[in-house]
């Protein structure tokens, strides 16, 4: 066999194969965000944020929850905004409002605002946008999120009536979750509604690189240029890149390596390691999220002593000091002080394992099967360190005589299992969940109506007295509402409707080149950030 033959038989095809692969690799135009981003940084200012979750879709309803759609409030705006320190509702796209009856509010709209696609912002736009959200077949309506079905009606060019289907005292607060989309998009290209956001915000959606990032560009025609006070900030960047980095470790590493300006939701340990880094700081701030144990008063937990034992068995302070790295506040109720109905008299349940054990023994003596197995469930990826908290709590419960089995479930099995009313689970072994509850409406009625009334969507608790108190509080407004809901809070506290752990802080690694003060709502709004001087 000659060398020529060898060449034709093996080397040539092999080389050809390699060449093909090489060519193909080269041809596939590399979209080099990194290099391009760095080059551009010289001429234009770019803000890069590492977030944990990619939006499932971009329907405007999804913007209600920040982690559903990180950074989307840079694009979309609402009729009202909130001051999360005082709880006050402030003008945004609406300049003033007046309550017409217990279901309807009339809004006077801001003039001279345009959508990113050029459509004018007026009463008709608001009506089309709101009505579409509740009538079109969407992946997720807002009904479940804010507990109301809304509709809107044009009164005048800049006057619109927004109504709830049922009497609603906190309709105004709920409108903080309803963003206004371009009517042009809804009418002319509704097929883009799930993949493109068109709003009135300071930044315009440029591109959604799936699996990679959401890219936004500054909106030169933003109404807020003229009125930064009302708009709640200013435009400081030419371009925003929100990168999706689901791995906690990688997100923090990206901040440490200087690839991003902000890394969202880092662990206390990652925060500590930032202390040695001159280019980074850790921003940790209280949030509306409260970690609690949903046990209810059914099955094993029908006996009040058992419910009290569960609370006394958990060493809240130890968990906060160690696993949560001090970034949480021990609590006696499910909302923090900003919310309507927060009762300042409720002290956290103490830690007393001996008393817990004694209570369980007493209950056992009266025939309660306290050693029965129950599930202590939780959702994957809920919060950094959450899996450890659940296991630690299970260990503490086991120490006093409970028999929990830990189940950390993926969202798609946890969510349906969690979304049960107690009456659907009668006769089954108790299914207890450690979960986060975030009351962003800042009104405790919303929490109680879900968790502690007999027919609440996710209620494992049922008591006639509580039903009465919640119904009475919901119908009131102002000071009277606050007092009635505080009374309800005292009742569930005394009856031990749930296990309480802590209000959570959420933390970020932030570049020293960036000025940003994290607020209670933890929304990643670029208008509140600016390059450091």
């Amino acid at each position: 066999m000659t060398f020529r033959k060898t060449l034709t038989r093996t080397v040539v095809p092999l080389a050809a194969l390699l060449l093909m692969a090489l060519l193909a690799a080269a041809c596939v135009a590399p979209v080099d965000t990194g290099a391009a981003g760095e080059m551009m940084e010289e001429e234009m200012s770019v803000l890069t944020v590492a977030v944990g979750q990619e939006p499932t879709h971009l329907e405007a309803t999804w913007v209600a929850g920040e982690t559903n759609c990180n950074g989307c409030r840079n694009i979309m705006e609402m009729l009202v905004k909130r001051n999360y320190e005082t709880g006050a509702v402030l003008p945004m796209l609406a300049t003033s409002w007046e309550r017409l009856d217990d279901r309807t509010i009339q809004f006077q709209l801001r003039e001279g605002v345009t959508f990113h696609d050029g459509a004018p912002f007026n009463a008709e736009a608001v009506a089309i946008s709101i009505n579409y959200m509740w009538t079109a077949e969407l992946s997720q309506t807002l009904t479940g999120t804010i507990g109301a079905t809304l509709s809107a009606e044009v009164v005048d060019e800049y006057v619109v009536n927004v109504s709830a289907a049922d009497p609603d005292q906190i309709l105004l607060e709920k409108l903080y979750f309803v963003v206004i989309s371009s009517p042009k998009q809804i009418q002319e290209e509704p097929e883009t509604y799930a993949s493109k956001l068109v709003g009135t915000g300071p930044y315009m959606m440029e591109e959604w690189r799936r699996g990679e990032s959401l890219i936004m560009a500054a909106n030169p025609d933003w109404w807020g240029h003229d009125d930064p006070e009302a708009a709640g900030g200013k435009i400081s960047f030419d371009k925003l890149i929100y990168r999706f980095l689901p791995e906690d470790t990688v997100r923090a590493a990206a901040a440490q390596a200087g690839e991003v300006d902000i890394a969202q939701f880092v662990t206390p340990d990652q925060c500590k390691s930032a202390a040695d880094d001159p280019n980074l700081r850790c921003e940790s701030a209280p949030s509306v999220e409260t970690m609690f144990v949903r046990m209810g008063n059914q099955g094993l937990f029908a006996d009040r002593r058992v419910r009290l034992a569960l609370n006394l068995a958990i060493d809240k302070e130890l968990i906060i000091d160690t696993i949560l790295g001090g970034a949480a506040t021990i609590t006696g109720q499910i909302v923090n002080a900003t919310a309507t109905g927060h009762n300042p008299n409720l002290e956290p349940y103490p830690y007393d394992p001996d008393e817990a054990q004694a209570l369980l023994e007493a209950a056992a003596a009266d025939g309660v099967d306290v050693g029965q197995e129950f599930t202590l469930a939780s959702r994957q990826g809920l919060h950094a360190g959450h899996v450890e908290v659940v296991q630690a709590v299970a260990g503490m419960l086991r120490d006093v005589g409970f028999n929990p089995t830990v189940a950390v479930m993926p969202p798609d099995t946890f969510n349906p299992a969690f979304s049960h009313n107690w009456s659907e689970l009668e006769g089954q072994p108790s299914w207890v969940a450690i979960h986060l509850h975030g009351n962003e409406i800042l009104d405790v009625w919303y929490s109680y109506a879900n968790y502690f009334v007999c027919d609440g969507a996710v209620s494992q608790y049922c008591s006639e007295e509580m039903d009465r108190l919640v119904a009475a509080g919901g119908a009131l407004s102002g000071e009277a509402r606050d007092m009635k809901l505080q009374e309800a809070g005292q009742f569930v506290y005394d009856d031990i409707a749930y296990g309480l752990i802590a209000h959570m802080d959420l933390a970020y690694l932030v570049s020293e080149d960036l000025e940003w003060e994290v607020k209670l709502d933890h929304r990643l709004q670029a208008k509140e950030m600016s390059p450091a001087q």
Partner: protein, 306 residues
């Protein structure tokens, strides 16, 4: 014509050769020792583990290797502690049970299914062969992990489902090999002879085919255990495999990854132990293969003599 004794002789000889050759080769000897140690500690975890793998102590969380234990008289935490203050070494030892059980049992199940189908295909040929091998081809076109994810997605995660799924997705390798070996044997004179003296098909398969295809299949099985341990780790890492409160090596890596920068030992050691286990299995399989292959064995033994 070969007699039974003749056919049996090389087999027993190779058994002795295998043992001697493996012990005399240093790398193979080390691999064998490592795997035996891991296997023994998995079986006798209660006796071997220095601490209770479930004992939590939040005040002792994320302690570096060699931190003294709070129980004064017991061993220090040789490989450190995890975010709940549990002893990492003890958890690795108990985790070995789950990881090895998944690997061994699913290798056994898939090996049995694959070998039976492969022998049937190779021996009977015809329609059975076509059907089985087309199935193999189809399944081969979907990557293993993807297929496992798909099945776990509909069955739900968990230990038993994991074993079932891994058995389903890995049988094809055995089927291919068993078929090829059977095909080769099918045409050899001693099978013709067996048919000529009127042996039944079952008798031929169990008397002549199975003993002759067994050794390459066992070697393949050794390799498969390694692959399956890796698959378990990957699936558990993605959240589709072993679930709490059970623990496996893959799950330990998955659970510790957010601490990698502050407490590297939580992730590093389980990963290292998976690597050592699969590496020693691969080394053993490689040694077995070269010993059982007559040409290579000759070279090996000649090397040993010289």
């Amino acid at each position: 014509m070969l007699t039974r004794e003749d056919a049996a002789r090389p087999k027993s000889a190779s058994g002795w050769v295998i043992a001697r050759a493996m012990l005399s080769d240093p790398i193979t000897f080390v691999a064998l020792t490592i795997f035996a140690l891991i296997l023994i500690s998995a079986v006798g975890a209660e006796l071997v583990a220095p601490h209770d793998p479930l004992e939590q102590n939040l005040r002792m969380r994320n302690m570096p290797p060699m931190t003294p234990s709070v129980h004064g008289n017991s061993l220090p935490h040789i490989l450190g502690t995890d975010p709940l203050g549990r002893d990492v070494l003890s958890r690795i030892i108990f985790g070995a049970r789950v990881s090895l059980t998944v690997g061994l049992s699913s290798a056994l199940v898939s090996g049995l299914i694959g070998s039976i189908l492969g022998i049937i295909a190779g021996y009977y040929r015809g329609l059975a062969d076509d059907l089985i091998m087309r199935l193999v081809d189809i399944q081969m076109s979907v990557p293993v992990l993807l297929l496992a994810l798909l099945v776990l997605f509909s069955l739900g995660p968990g230990f038993l489902n994991l074993v079932v799924v891994l058995a389903i997705v890995r049988w094809m390798t055995y089927a291919r090999m068993a078929r090829g070996q059977t095909l080769a044997l099918r045409n050899s004179p001693f099978i013709d002879a067996a048919i000529a003296i009127g042996s039944t098909n079952t008798r031929i398969i169990f008397r002549h085919i199975v003993p002759n295809v067994a050794s390459p299949l066992v070697i393949l099985g050794t390799l498969e255990v390694a692959t399956l341990i890796l698959s378990e780790a990957g699936l558990s890492f993605l959240g589709f495999g072993i679930q709490l409160p059970q623990s496996s090596w893959g799950l330990m890596i998955s659970g510790g990854r957010q601490y990698i920068a502050s407490a590297w030992w939580i992730v590093a050691f389980p990963g290292l132990i998976i690597f050592l286990t699969t590496l020693s299995l691969n080394l053993l399989a490689a040694a077995l293969r070269s010993i059982s292959d007559p040409i290579q064995r000759e070279r090996w033994l000649r090397k040993k003599v010289s």
